[in-house]
């Protein structure tokens, strides 16, 4: 069955009969299949949940266009979806599979040609957008004379291609600026952000946002407007049966006239966008530069020139490594968000949450849960801790509402969902209790002992521990099967990852409840088995320890950090220690050191610093200190970390290599030990939990890109030079020996 079909709605359709009386022109739109009637181009892929413009759909579109081109007598065309909640999206699958550049360019050109044919139809066309309209879907809509959109939460319109490492290739990059102006076009294409119907109307992307039930009616009214004689900018315009008078950008205000409408202003706009892009991507994301280039060189050129540029660039990007890696990261996240889990259908939703311990994590979890409509009781026996937590929550909520313009009644409702308390009143009604008290086995066990006797038997107990073993914590419990780890990362409101830790006795139901809660909180949940450091810290700590080894070897702290930032990490290892807290880092290094003494050495420097009260950013004093705007090493940290004989690295890459290789090695041990299900999960965990650069596609993808034989060889060389911690993991040796990889060809 075809994805695109042409329909001729009968004269009394849809629903409300004729085009609304009193339409702007007063001329009723004739319907039905006869001359002057209106046709609908309906998109409905019978094989999928959402419409995707893949190669087969493109073929169907071409057939439908052929049919429409043969009917120049038609009065107009409405492009709409027959699927609730989905207009049309681009084909992510194709991005992942296309490896041949000419083939990629040919496909892009073909899609462009189809859009051009849609734009050239001899009658007016209106896209009626309802549901997600992303990438190619938006480009299809851009080829119409005008657009209307359903003002419903499900409607999302945008060109997110750049987030996947490509540019809008079906004419989107070329056509958008003509509709919304240069500044807005640059903003939408370079950030890849999506708009709801109202914002799209304000940006000029759609002509009008209307309630969903009246969408088709308004599309018809818009068709009538397009062909009718009317007035434009005060001057009368003749009737235009061909509907060539589509929506076009008009300057709104002096600023937009200058910045988008004059050559000098446009130059400024480009310069600004270029500077911003550079700052944001650090030169690692070629798609943004490509989009800028197409817009700059294609602007005010014949449309064909610009389209050719678009296709050439898109071809380069599609077969490039960054696109492939970003698509992989995207699909991993998608999988983690939607992956079915045994028992998740039966797992009850968490409507009431008990948080025990009002430290930074407790406050963060309370704020997050209350924001997502969950009633939270926040218990701490120390009233001052509660006061600090409540102030932090209020500050966070105020900051968010200031940034996003959340309505006052919503922020008030959010704050009203948090009940602070010095006792555990109301615990029987909680569906899940999460503990976030100090990282001390006895203290935590006492808390769970207290919780277990008072909670409902079907309620779930969770720990937010980062360094203790879930099984150890569950040991004293009467029902260890309802015990699960939920490791949120600090700061909770910014970190998108939650490690849901399965203990030896954790039941499927408890695990599913925790995963479902994490997803409801807008977090990506990955399931890991209990083990020291779970997965993110397990892989990260050897890297941080290696950074200390480098310092011991004589390299400067700033160089080590610069090396990892150049590699693409959001932060260098020492900056990460400050962020995590030096005490937490020291503790985690110790935990991993006792579990894997051959790979993680103790870190006496860190413990000495902690003893001196340098705890990192949270205490205002860490390795780095900011003195009147300049960042320097803390004097004490400098004394402990600065070697007698300073060494300059031959290259930053050499430093980064040591730190990334220990991570790869540890990840291989993790994978072999069954901590996570597959390489994809591990990569996602580090992308979201440790700031691994998405354009590298993940840690293990990075190792595969290097080649495992080379990884093994380098590890062996380093082992000879630096010691046993570089001894290649058996899994690496095995894969290297048979020429295998971590990530191919499995779905991961």
């Amino acid at each position: 069955m075809s994805v695109f079909r042409v329909e001729f709605p009968p004269a009394d359709a849809p629903g409300r009969g004729e085009a609304p009386a009193g339409g702007p022109s007063g001329t009723p739109v004739r319907q039905g299949g006869g001359p002057g009637g209106i046709a609908h181009l309906v998109m409905d892929d019978p094989a999928r949940r959402v419409n995707v413009l893949d190669e087969q759909a493109l073929g169907d579109l071409e057939v439908a266009l052929g049919l429409l081109e043969g009917r120049p007598d038609l009065g107009g065309l409405v492009v709409r979806s027959g699927k609730p909640g989905s207009f049309m999206t681009g084909d992510v699958e194709a991005l992942a599979t296309l490896t041949d550049r000419p083939q990629a360019v040919a496909l892009v050109r073909r899609a462009q040609a189809a859009c051009a044919r849609l734009a050239a139809l001899p009658f007016a066309t209106v896209a009626a957008i309802d549901g997600t309209c992303l990438g190619a879907g938006t480009e299809l809509a851009l080829a119409c004379s005008s657009r209307v959109a359903a003002q419903e939460p499900r409607t999302q319109i945008g060109l997110p291609e750049v987030l996947l490492g490509v540019i809008p290739g079906c004419g989107g990059t070329t056509r958008l600026s003509g509709l919304v102006g240069l500044s807005t076009a640059l903003d939408l294409i370079l950030t890849g952000r999506t708009l709801d119907a109202r914002s799209a109307e304000r940006a000029g992307l759609v002509e009008r946002a209307v309630p969903g039930v009246w969408l088709i009616e308004h599309a018809h009214r818009r068709l009538a407007e397009l062909v009718a004689p009317g007035r434009e900018r005060g001057r009368p315009v003749a009737a235009d049966p061909q509907g060539r008078r589509g929506d076009r950008w008009r300057p709104r205000g002096l600023r937009s006239w200058f910045m988008d409408g004059t050559p000098f202003g446009r130059g400024l706009t480009f310069a600004r966008a270029r500077a911003m892009t550079k700052g944001r991507t650090g030169g690692h994301y070629p798609a943004a530069d490509a989009a800028l280039s197409v817009l700059q060189h294609g602007f005010a050129q014949p449309i064909e020139t610009s389209l050719r540029l678009e296709a050439e660039w898109a071809g380069d990007l599609i077969v490039g490594p960054v696109c492939r890696n970003l698509v992989r990261a995207f699909r991993l996240a998608e999988r983690a968000r939607e992956a079915p889990l045994p028992g998740i259908e039966d797992a009850g939703p968490v409507e009431r949450l008990q948080v025990v311990g009002a430290g930074g994590m407790g406050a963060g979890i309370a704020e997050l849960a209350s924001r997502h409509g969950i009633e939270v009781r926040l218990r701490d026996t120390d009233p001052d801790a509660l006061a600090r937590a409540l102030r932090a929550v209020r500050a966070r909520v105020a900051e968010r509402s200031g940034r996003t313009g959340t309505a006052r009644h919503e922020t008030e409702a959010q704050l009203a969902r948090i009940f602070p308390g010095l006792d555990l009143a109301g615990l029987k009604r909680a569906d899940l209790a999460i503990e976030a008290v100090v990282e001390d086995l006895d203290v935590k066990r006492r808390v769970f002992g207290e919780l277990e006797v008072r909670m409902r038997p079907d309620a779930v107990l969770a720990t937010n521990t980062s360094s203790l073993s879930v099984d150890d914590l569950a040991a004293g419990l009467e029902r260890p099967q309802r015990f699960v780890g939920m490791h949120f990362f600090d700061p909770v409101h910014r970190m998108p990852l939650v490690e849901v830790v399965r203990g030896a006795k954790t039941s499927a139901a408890a695990l599913a409840t925790a995963v479902r809660l994490a997803r409801r909180l807008g977090r990506t949940a990955i399931v890991v088995n209990d083990g020291p450091g779970f997965v993110v810290n397990r892989v990260l700590m050897p890297c941080l320890r290696e950074a200390l080894h480098l310092a011991e070897d004589g390299y400067r702290v700033a160089d080590v950090d610069a090396a990892m930032r150049a590699f693409g990490m959001t932060r260098g290892p020492f900056e990460m220690m400050d962020e995590l807290g030096l005490d937490v880092t020291a503790k985690l290094v110790a935990v991993l050191g006792s579990a894997f003494p051959e790979r993680v050495a103790p870190a006496p420097q860190l413990e000495a610093l902690v003893k001196e009260g340098l705890l990192g950013r949270k205490s205002g004093a860490g390795l780095y200190r900011t003195w009147s705007g300049r960042r320097t090493l803390d004097p004490l940290a400098a004394r402990l970390l600065r070697p007698e004989r300073e060494r300059r690295p031959a290259s930053l890459e050499a430093l980064a290599e040591r730190m990334t290789l220990v991570m790869v090695n540890e990840a291989a041990h993790c994978l072999a030990g069954g901590v996570v299900a597959d390489a994809g999960t591990l990569d996602l965990a580090l992308l979201y939990g440790a700031g691994f650069p998405p354009w590298r596609g993940g840690l293990l993808r990075h190792a595969d890109a290097l080649g495992l034989a080379k990884v093994e060889a380098r590890l062996t060389a380093l082992r000879a030079e630096k010691g046993e911690r570089f001894r290649p993991a058996p899994l690496i040796e095995e894969l290297a020996a048979r020429g295998g990889t971590f990530t191919e060809p499995a779905s991961a």
Partner: protein
Amino acid sequence: MTAPAVWILGGIRTPFARAGTALRQLSVVELGRLAMGELLARHELDPARLDEVILGNCAQPAEAANVARVTALRAGIPEHVPGLTVHRNCASGMEAVGLAAERIQLGRAQLVLAGGVESMSQLPLLFPPEFGGWLADVTRARHPLARAAAALRFRPALLRPRPALLEALHDPVCGLGMGETAELLAHEFDLGRELQDGFALLSHQRAVAARERLREEIMPVFPPPACELVRDDLGPREGQTLEQLARLRPCFDRRNGTVTVGNACPVTDGAVALLVGGEEVARDWPGPPLGRVRAWAVAGLEPRRMGLGPVHAIARVLDQTGLSLEEIELFEINEAFAVQVLACLEAVRSARFARAELGRDRALGEIPLERLNVNGGAIALGHPVGASGARLLLTLLLEMRRRGAKRGLAALCVGGGQGAAFVLERDG
């Protein structure tokens, strides 16, 4: 025929704080939500079981006119549970409980959350109605000249603010402020300044001594902006002396007055929430209920003598129940003004008053001071007008439990010339 029993199953309140102090940033809704949420939590009660939420509130803010409904939804009470706000001035909190009791007796409800809430800090400043008139004239004028003419009729007096608090404490019928009605009672019963100050001192001393006991009814709150713990009423002053009270100047009648801020109750923020249930609910209740509503009554009198309201209401409940004052072990009479409570005590024991005003041939009896307001009263604790009625019931029931008392009476005077009274019972 005896009416079905109505039980008060549990209750909690926020600390009370003088307006403009610790709780001033909490709106009425927020205060009420705290009390409701804590009450539900302490009883581990599924709020879907509630049949209704009834709250007393006097100020009824414009942004949440039906305070009970908004508060209930904010406290996580499901949408199918209706909410009703009631207003009987100072007796609003009592009215809420009385109404809940009647619903239960009629069989229309089994479990009701009733209480009272007031934020006197957040009473607004009002513009005079003439300002609204001027604004309407200006916006309605069609022609620019007409509009200019209308605008020119502006007078600065139009902007003179009227504090809603003062308006609320002023009786529009008799034209007197509440404090002035109290002065009238001082004249009528010949109650001097020393007597009044002495009574106020007693209130403070008792409240200070009862601090630990009162924590049973008070929940800890963490009010913004500092979010620091408040767990006691802020009103009771330790080390309060007669001399300090005597130094204060009369504030309603500067020349001959006797009522000062020291022997009157302060304007206060606070909320009270009680669970009121029928026989069936009480039978299955996990813990022992606090007590039973034996009877309640409201009475009206001249607005200018509103302070005597309790006497009229007490006479009515005694008539209803056939009880005499001797059979009642513990009393709570709200201390709007020291002189007003003292006047009530005089009136109760006066045969002349009984004959002239109550149509009885004998005096009502005696309310001994040592069994009245034993944990202090509104002069020390504060009087959040919409909430006090419910507070009296809660305080009384908890003290009856402590003493093993079987019967208690709570009453208060109501601005505008009314009184309300409850007789509560426990099985010892």
